[in-house]
Structures are given as C-alpha cells and as structure tokens.
Symmetry: C3
C-alpha cells in the first residue's frame, strides 16, 4: 500500500488541492493521500523545506513526498525527483526538498522530462497538478524513477543556517513559528548545555529562562526553553504564545548563555 | 473503486465536514473522499459553481460530486442529482451544479425524495449531512439514480456572464480571485488575440500589460495577462497579488484592448 | 475496515496533523482517517468536548476517536482510553472526552502506560503524535484496550452547564458559535414549549423571535430560534450571522420566555 504526502502552498480555500487529488486518484486509485499542510505562505521555500524536514521521518518507509512549492512555475526551475533508500521526493529543484534530503542516503536524482508521466493537456502555470502530482502517482504505481528522465548529479541546496558556540553562548536563528506561537530555533538540543537556566537574548530581549522538559514545568503564562518535537530548541509559553510575547519572527537571530 | 468529491461552504473550523464524512463512511465504507474545498463563503452559489466547473474534469470518470452549498437548506429548494455519461452531481437545485453540468452530456436528472436514502433522523437545517451526503454514498454503493426519486426535465441555470468582443476590445468580468491574488476573468483564451500586449482597463485602472505564458515571463512584482490553468484569461503578478495591487473584486467588469 | 477520527487543536498551517497521520498509517496501513476538525482554539477543552459530543454519533460503530486536546502535554494529566459498547475514545483525562462519553454505555477505562504502544522515540511535548495517535492505531489493528495499561475506575468530568426552567422562561448559556454565526445554546429542544414566538434575552438584548423550523422560514436578514442539527436550540439569522448581530459569545447566559 502506497502513501503520497502532499506539502504545498496551494491553500485550502480554492480547488487547487482537491483537483490535484483528483489527478492522483486518476492514476493511482488505491493510494493513500496525506496532507502535511497546504498553508505554506505562497512561494515560501524555506518554510516548506523546514516543514518537510520536521515531519517526513514520521511517515512509513516508501512514502512519496510531493512538494510543489514552486514560485517560478516554469521551465526556469527544473522539476526533479530524488530517491533515497527510504523515501522518494518530487518537487522543483529550488531547495525545498534539500533540508530533508540531506539527511538521506540518496540513490537517484532525475530531471522530470518524460511527458508520458505528465498530465495532458499541460498548463503553463500549474506544475503541481500537471507534473509533480502525476509523476508522484506514477511512482506509487511502480514506475521506476529512472523512467522519468535523465539522471542528475546533484540538486540545489538551500543554505542551512548554522548555529555557533562561543564559550557559554550558543547563537542561532529562528527557523519557524508554529500555530501555538512556539518559536523554533536552528539550535539542536545537543548544543545546549544541561544548565537549568539560560540568558535568552534577541533584538530588544534580554531575559533569564529556565530549561524545561514540558510546557507545564513552568506556571501558566511563563516562558521557557525546551527541546521541541522536531529535535530543535524552542522557546514557548505555557498556555500562551511566545511569538507574540517576544515579538520575534523567522530569520531573527537569538542567543542563549548558560547561567 | 469509488470517489466522492465534496465541495461545500461548511468551513473547517467546526465539525460539519468531519461529521458528514462519518455519514458517508457509514454507508460506503470503502469510498475515497476528496475535499475540493470547504471554504466557499457561506451560501456563495456563484463561487461554488465556478470552483466545481474549474476542477471537476480532473477527477476520474464516475466520480460523484456532492455540493451542498445550500443557503435555503429546506424544501423551498429542490434537492437533485444529475448524472452525465461521465460523472454524477448531487446538490440543491439553486444553480451551484449548473456551470459544470452544462458542459456534460446529461443522462438523468432526478428529484431526491426517497427517504430510504436519507439520514434518519432527518434534521431541518443540515441537508448536507442528512440528504446530499447519504444520497452520494448510496450512489457510490451502486444504487441507481432512478431509485432516488422522480425524473425532472431540467435544472436551474445560474446565468453565465458572457464576454463581448468589439473591434480590438474584449470585455468581460471577474469570476474568481484565488489564494495567490490571481484574478480569473470569464474570457476564454481563444477570445484574446495573439498580440504581445494589451491595454487592461477596469474601474480606476488603465494599464498596458504583456500577454505572458508563465509568471516568471515578467520580472518579480510585475503584472501580466496569461491563460490560467482553468482555461480562462487571468491577471497575475509574479510573486505578488494582482487582486491587492489592482483592488479588484468578483463581479467587476474588465476589458482588454489589443495594442 | 477501521476508522480513526481526529479532533485536535493542531491547526492546519503547520505539519502537526499530517505528521500524526504518517504515524497512524505506519501502524495501521489500511485505516480510514477522518478529520473532524483541527481548528479547536489551542487548549480549548470545552469547545473540543462540544465538537466531539455534537459529531461522534454520526460515525460508524467501532470508530476510534483520537482527541489530543492537551494543554498540559505531560504526565500531569493522565492519558486514557475509554471503550463503550459502540465506540472507543483516546485522549488526555482533562474532560475533553467526557461530554460524549457520558451518553455512552462504558465497558472499560484504562490509563495508557505501556510504552510498547507509544512512538519511539517519545518527545516530551507532542503526546498527540507520540502517545494518542499510536495507541489509536494499535487499537484499530486489534490490540485489546486492556493491553494498554491498568484499568481506571473513572474519568474527569467537565461540568455540563444545566439549563433551568422557571415558569414560562428557560435559562441557559451559549455552548458554541459556528462558522455561520449560528449561536448554539445548552437548551435541548424538548425544554422549549411549542409556542410560536419567544422573548429572547441576554446581556443588552431583549427581542421577540419566532420559533422556526428552517432558516428560510423567516425573511433574509431576520433572526429566529430553531432546533439545530445537534439537538440543541440555536439562534440564527437567515443568510446572516446571529453572533455578529447580537454580539454574543461562548459562556454568555441567555433566556427565552414563551409569549
């Protein structure tokens, strides 16, 4: 049994996602389709790359990830598929696949060129429906990745912001802010020492926060640092929004100094 | 294998859509359910009709479309099913099915009256859950459309705004604005000449725009005219929102003059 | 064939819901997953409890409801499963299951302790993905509820606001406001007499409303009282939002006096 997981910026208010599923079922009538999310901001490759990296390992082996976050929508950005020993990824070669794929043992990268596996007719503005979805569906039906087009030697890497350690201070940046207002940094939990509290510093912010294990380790309304479910250090508020409290946004720099 | 595609104004914040799927699976345990969208504005028959027309042909043959966009919710609007040689449509007879169905070769139209195919008990205010969904599920299980109620000779047509050509000018109106701010007109691509640029005119707007094939045919932030994925002419901005830029809304009139 | 129905506060803009489905399919590859909603306000146990009570009976027998609305996210709130003669419910023991379960004939209540049925590794902040979803998936695969952990003798009840009848007046409170602006009270339809109109009173409101059966029993823009699809009395406006018109919110008290 085959799973296709969709991660897009199509939104849910128009018919784009539903129509894309119609195309998938037309080719792969028995596939399970899972929506990771469709609410990546239009063309926000970085948030798409992070959402994919954060979620893909929870899916069963052999899942096919279809990620048409594709601000260029045309031939100026190559359409690709990447197969690892565990998963397959389909999307534009603009870096949106790269943060997930760099953790994988890659077997093949191909350029999607064989129009037998595309929708017919082919529009010029909706590659999600017309190229990426049909290709994902054909892969789930057993088409070999090598049938899709010529082998590529590499793919575009989106730069990964790297955290830095200087003495007792770890510096990084904000990768993502979730629905609950939790602030996800690029700092893995291994980089933070086991101290019980840290000075948290960012633009206009200078505050001592405890390192906690769960939200209710602190009182309601209080902030804390913790290792989030993605493996990265987060800043959160018990029953509140840290993003609102600290007025912080993606890309902002932060540092934590052990106390 | 059977597909039921749902297109509603139920939203996704309450339980209405999920509960409706519970009803569907209770009757048709092996059906695939596809959400086209649930975010049509409450009672917006015209947007629902357009979303159905724009998307339905991408679904596999024999798909059953269940479209309970039903501002009257009661006996004052007949509940109907329409079967063509390719698809089946279930919904209120208020025009929401009409823009799709008029492209189809219709075999049967019936009035839904046989309560054996309705939910029991039957509420007075939720025909989506209690009539349209159960009927769609019974159809997917093989019940004949003619078992559902008496044959009708016609269905309600929602007026289709017709574009006009006068010399070098094509006049039409705005049918839909999508998540990306792309403006979809009622002008089919065949009506526009092959000129490379047009004067775009609407209330307070008078601007020369290029006819492009893809968003990145123009610079980021620049507007263009193009044939959209629905087959209609659209106005869009590369990596931007044309609807915001031009402050245009559904129903506004537009014209394009070849230059 | 097995159904797992999800009712969460995960939202749909991040990957939380999709990732949870990846976990479910990894354990139960043939399950049908139904989203009731993911847009309960973060940690709003009362709205979650109402949405579950309002919807669960429309699902097929044996459906497993997974309801990780879990503001405490940690060991301070017991994780439980409750099996009735019709359904199974999985979630935190904070009352979110209680309004549905109190209508059921309960067979077993267990504390979820056996980590063989949890995700490995186990995060400290995402019990929906790591405990509730895997347990629901194992139940759908045939694991006995008694294998999950020790039997409990009870579960936490969320207080149910009780309506009061005094002479010709029924007093209650607002339980939920839906997408359409319909106001759902805690007053069951049996409590209201069959009079044709009532004086509706709430903070700053004193208005005579008809008791109607469907929205179009009154003119467009006019308000009415009716028995909603959940079995409770609602206040609605034909083609409008009663919540906006009356500026009413969840928890507000209301009374209706027969005229």
């Amino acid at each position: 049994l085959s799973i296709i997981a969709l991660l897009t910026d199509f939104g849910t208010s128009d018919w784009f996602t539903g129509e894309t599923k119609g195309v998938l079922f037309g080719i792969a009538p028995n596939v399970h389709i899972v929506d990771i999310t469709h609410q990546i901001a239009p063309g926000d490759i970085r948030s798409g790359a992070f959402a994919l990296k954060a979620s893909y390992k929870s899916f069963p082996l052999q899942t096919i990830f279809c990620v048409p976050i594709d601000p260029d929508t045309s031939g100026s950005c190559t359409a690709i598929a990447i197969q690892s020993d565990r998963y397959t990824f389909v999307g534009p070669d603009n870096g949106v696949l790269s943060w997930a794929v760099e953790d994988e043992h890659i077997l093949s990268i191909v350029k999607l060129t064989d129009i037998r596996f595309f929708r017919n007719p082919l529009s010029m503005t909706f590659r999600g429906r017309d190229i990426f979805a049909p290709v994902a569906a054909h892969l789930s039906e057993g088409v070999s990745i090598k049938a899709l087009g010529p082998i590529l030697m590499g793919y575009k890497h989106l730069p990964v912001p790297v955290p830095h350690v200087t003495g007792d201070t770890v510096s990084g940046e904000i990768l993502y802010i979730d629905r609950f207002g939790n602030i996800i940094t690029n700092i893995t939990k291994e980089l933070l020492s086991k101290n019980s509290s840290f000075n948290f510093h960012s633009s206009g912010i200078n505050q001592v926060l405890p390192l906690a294990s769960t939200y209710d380790s602190v009182e309601q309304g209080k902030a804390m640092i913790y290792a989030g479910s993605t493996g990265f250090i987060e800043i959160g508020i018990h029953s509140g929004s840290a993003a609102k409290e600290f007025r912080i946004k993606c890309g902002d720099t932060v540092d934590f100094t052990a106390l």
